[in-house]
Symmetry: D2
Subunit: 197 residues, 4 copies
């Protein structure tokens, strides 16, 4: 597999450039771009990507924080291997792979400036609690919620902690060829919750 040089400073690597595996979720280009914007990255930052899945957020973040490091945390072996493969595909040497489930595996890691939460396996509140404790000053946490449960738990947690989250709901439809016509294909609706300490 040839290494891909993505030469741009802006996030937004096309979905098709990532290696995929059946059943492993990919954060689609437009949502990935908005997520990078909301979490606000710069060189030198330490980032956690919790539930890295295909690794597309890890790849985009690692490019932007270099020489800072991204900790890709993933408990599913197939997804963990896929994150690794995609980090390799984009020639990134500043990604650390952490096999296991948050919040437990966060214990030994350096304190983060930024946290991305994709998958939380029903433990969102515990993950947020641990991340808030570990977060450096002016830290930010961005949650991508595709399920009702993640949205509700994230909002409930923010309210209990007296945080004032920024929340957006994003609906993107993409025009796609379908025979001689072009059809508006809608991506699934997603909620992006941003917590600033």
């Amino acid at each position: 597999m040839t290494e891909i040089k993505w030469p741009f400073l802006t996030p937004g690597i096309p979905d098709a450039l990532f290696r995929r595996e059946e059943g492993v979720p990919l954060t689609k280009e437009e949502i990935r771009v908005l997520t990078m914007a909301k979490v606000r990255l710069k060189p030198g930052q330490t980032v956690y990507d919790i539930g890295s899945g295909t690794g597309s957020l890890t790849v985009e973040a690692a490019r932007l924080v270099n020489p800072g490091r991204v900790y890709a945390i993933e408990k599913e072996p197939v997804a963990a291997a896929l994150t690794w493969a995609n980090a390799n595909r984009f020639g990134l040497s500043n990604v650390e792979f952490v096999a296991g489930a948050a919040p437990e595996v966060l214990a030994g890691l350096p304190e983060p400036d930024r946290v991305l939460v994709g998958g939380s396996s029903g433990k969102l509140a515990a993950i947020l609690e641990e991340c808030l404790h570990r977060l450096r000053p002016e830290g930010r946490i961005v949650i991508n919620a595709v399920t009702w449960e993640t949205l509700r738990d994230g909002m409930d947690y923010a309210r209990e902690r007296g945080l004032d989250p920024e929340v957006i709901n994003v609906n993107v439809a993409r025009l796609a060829a379908a025979g001689k016509s072009q059809l508006w294909k809608s991506m699934n609706s997603i909620y992006i919750i941003t917590l600033q300490v």
Copy 2:
């Protein structure tokens, strides 16, 4: 197959109550409901359903205009049979089945009060032209556009004829069980164009 008695005056028969065939499009419940509202139905009207597909618009309209009649126009044999099966399933005796393509097959039909356009096979302008000629006073035409081409051709036609269409774009996401979670599933984005003479 048992006949289904749908006892309500409001449109909105659940999608699952229609018989389906692979590859034949179904106008989803929410879009169907909005389409019925935009076309404005009452008993006694004559309605064309051009490109009836699964027949869900035909079924909803036939219930509401009875004893008026709905002409279900469909050129694909599998879809035509499916429209017929669904009209039967809902016990409707005021549907006429017209096998063939619009605008040609419209020639011998009674003049309509209302026209629904789902499929147009690239002949939207010709279909609209013929329907506008045949339409009774205060008639209405509602176009469901899922493709760019239908949206553009419908808008271009309206502009050339000096009509002032009402146009809405509708995005509906439905919460659906996915394992222990509930996921926001987006239906494809659709445009509803309404022409009033």
Copy 3:
């Protein structure tokens, strides 16, 4: 003021036909149409419209359930008067006006077949609890949630009661003239929760 005869069986009275008052919310045409579909109306039903506001849901429902009755419940005097004015404007004689706040004022009313919940003033759970107790067999409750709090409280209540709500999120953009151009104007995003007993 002339009485308006809306001759159609389908819901979807244009927003502009309702009398409006500054600060009193109106359920927009498309959302109103979907709400009527989700609550499923037929002649003879008894309907509560809780937080009737401008009265547009009351008007649409009263037309469809006649000779059944709609109980328009509204605690704000200006809104209550507006609901009354709009019911009058559409010549409806089957609307009962109930001044006061739910759930308290529901006590003396006949048991409903259908309940619409627009405004709940932070008492959604208590309103739903009372309505569920009063609801006739095969009853339905439809909640229009424009705020996070209504969405969350409605979902929390459904979960606690072991109900399995149908939930949709609707985004409608309407093309509107803006000088020589036509601009896509988005209505605010709304959630429609349907509870069936």
Copy 4:
């Protein structure tokens, strides 16, 4: 007015940090972020921002292409002054201000790597034609269409030139405080058309 240091590499400066003028359009944060991603920026590029309005795209692009230059083209004096004020506010010295209307004023400018088209005053086809001629190899043009006319004209132009545009429709709702509640406020629906040569 104090200069603002926006220290992040990611686009997404909050709307509130820009100076605003009544009647001058602002590309909202989320749309701005997606626009930057679609146009794909890196240091050294030359960018045209046609119809710069408030200047928010100019500011984001200038930060990312530095020492490359952004040509902010704006025919309305108030908007031109506002673009200038915002470029100053963010301490940018690599913005050139071009007063006048495209395509005419493009004549003397250096060839661009990237073109952003916000306003086109009904001359979109002529603007695109001129930009395509001037564009350097592997150039990209991104059109933000908030009106039907811009969407249609952009799509028609792409078809006539045999280009295969990428098109997305974006709907973003933001949760906003409204009294004790939080309301989902929808931004206007927007279309982003990307042309690659």
